[in-house]
Symmetry: C2
Subunit: 332 residues, 2 copies
């Protein structure tokens, strides 16, 4: 991924259309595509970050036929037909831009549960196109890869949102300034630890979208953009107290939190335990909290565990940190 | 102003309540309070910056009576009664927090025309309280000074908005995350040059506020906060191309620009001349444009001059740069 540089923003034009020679390059690659969290409190529909764990594992092999063959090594019963599979569709769209008569087999072990709200489909799409691009000698720009991944993710979400694709591709915190044309900004950020609780209930993204208002008050919009501007500045300065003060959402959270049992309790107990702040991961049902230290993130984990142990709902909790790298290529 | 540090954000608690001794300190001071521009395109009601010019000049003298005496050396016919005068009111509120039986005479030469949209009343309020605080041995914190200035500005604007007060006090770009409680964020920014045209027409801030919608679409709000987040990141990185792309406003500008003759022409000709972008200064009637170099800012000036010379409206144009310092104390 030598054409990725930190803190760069789109648009990027690929000037790396090297002559492709099969003989010189590898024919198999394994990548790890991280979970991501979008809709970061005051950054609804634009701000996201990547997690160190969990990651999907994907192995791609070059084949001499213009096709994509999917194999899932997990138990999520995702579609195996390439056109219906997020990773498959993304790579099919990538192949449309490839002249040679080549294709890929894609072996996927999903560790990010679909529907958990932490970017499962983006990981599939981004991991697949990054791996394919590597096998093709890095011929596509980051922007092109993001476009291919978006086409893949559309299969699952029926929407064009780059706020999970962007952090999965670039790592760290990313802000999608515009989706059409795609304009992704990589943000500077300090060390941050993340506690994520995933209650084992289902929330459909389409349902979560339907309950949002189409109109909001100018006053609450001003409050929201003031908080987002402050959050971006706070991340850049490493001002943890300001990060905490900026993590407010009076628009989406009050509506969507009703879909997530014990949301208010999880939040108040996490803050009590020392978390800087947090909210709904994506469109839920996962809830995330940011902390300044690993120790605090673990205290937050315990607080969350106490709250959900009093319910009949199964849950997983991850304690991890912000992943600065994005999709990672496995070392041989 | 040794209690000001760059890139710090509120809240700040003053811990500098030193014992005050008249004999040790000066009794007269002159300060220059800069013009400021608020409502920076996608940063409506929160983002502002300070200009190198024009500046108001104010001389304060300590007197041994708890009163404020105003003298204006300009021709703007502003109220001379301290309670009705922005600078006077700000210092009166400051004096409420002072135990000693002291007061000030304030001699004001306003170079920032009231009603021009570039923070004339904020300059009066902030200049006066910074000067008074200096004569009192720096006993108040920046946050306290901002609060006094807001109380003064209320006399003119009948509203509590800190988006001109903040950049006048701190210099540079500031973001007001919250007005109540006051939370001001100083932003990092690269060198930027500013061209401001002030058409000699009157727009009342209260009128400019009345024509705004109370509700906006969630979609346009998302677009606005994505742009503001990107602008804050772009300023921090010194990414001029991203600054240019982020300077979009689809909410306030389309409505308020109708109050300003030739707005669209000024904007399109300025962009044509190489400006990064810009928009309405405050609630108008001034229009500002940002440029990467002084040379471009001067080309923009010429372009603006051509547009307005074809009208019957008188106008002033300033070419200046971002003022990183805020209120400046005159050297003896």
């Amino acid at each position: 991924m030598n054409n990725y540089s930190p803190y760069r923003s789109f648009p990027i034009v690929s000037n790396d259309k090297r002559v492709f020679n099969f003989c010189e390059i590898m024919r198999e690659i394994t990548v790890y595509a991280p979970a991501t969290i979008a809709n970061i409190v005051c950054g609804f529909d634009c701000l996201g970050f990547a997690l160190d764990a969990p990651c999907d594992e994907m192995t791609l092999r070059l084949i001499d036929e213009k096709t994509v063959v999917i194999k899932h090594l997990d138990a999520f019963e995702l579609p195996l037909e390439a056109e219906q599979n997020v990773a498959g569709k993304a790579v099919l769209v990538l192949l449309e831009a490839v002249e040679e008569n080549i294709g890929f087999t894609i072996e996927i072990t999903k560790n990010i549960k679909p529907g958990s709200g932490i970017g499962s489909s983006s990981a599939s799409a981004v991991g697949a196109v990054v791996a394919a691009n590597k096998l093709l000698g890095d011929r596509f720009s980051s922007r092109e890869l993001a476009e291919f991944a978006l086409a893949g993710e559309f299969v699952a979400s029926k929407a064009r949102h780059a706020d999970n694709v962007a952090p999965c591709l670039f790592g760290g915190f990313t802000l999608v300034r515009s989706t059409n044309p795609l304009d992704i900004v990589e943000l500077e950020f300090p060390p941050l630890f993340v506690t994520v609780i995933h209650p084992q209930i289902e929330i459909k993204t389409s349902e979560a979208r339907k309950i949002l208002p189409t109109e909001i008050s100018l006053k609450s919009a001003i409050q929201a953009w003031s908080n987002l501007g402050a959050l971006v500045a706070a991340l850049s300065k490493g001002d943890y107290a300001l990060i905490a003060r900026s993590l407010e959402d009076f628009i989406v959270e009050p509506i969507r939190k009703k879909m997530i049992p014990k949301f208010d309790e999880i939040k108040s107990e996490s803050l009590q335990a020392g978390a800087l702040g947090g909210g709904i991961a994506g469109s839920g049902p996962s809830i995330f909290m940011l902390s300044e230290t690993l120790e605090t993130a673990r205290t937050v984990e315990n607080a969350m565990r106490v709250v959900y142990s009093a319910t009949a709902i199964d849950f997983n909790i991850y304690v991890t940190q912000i992943n600065a790298e994005g999709v990672r290529i496995a070392e041989k």
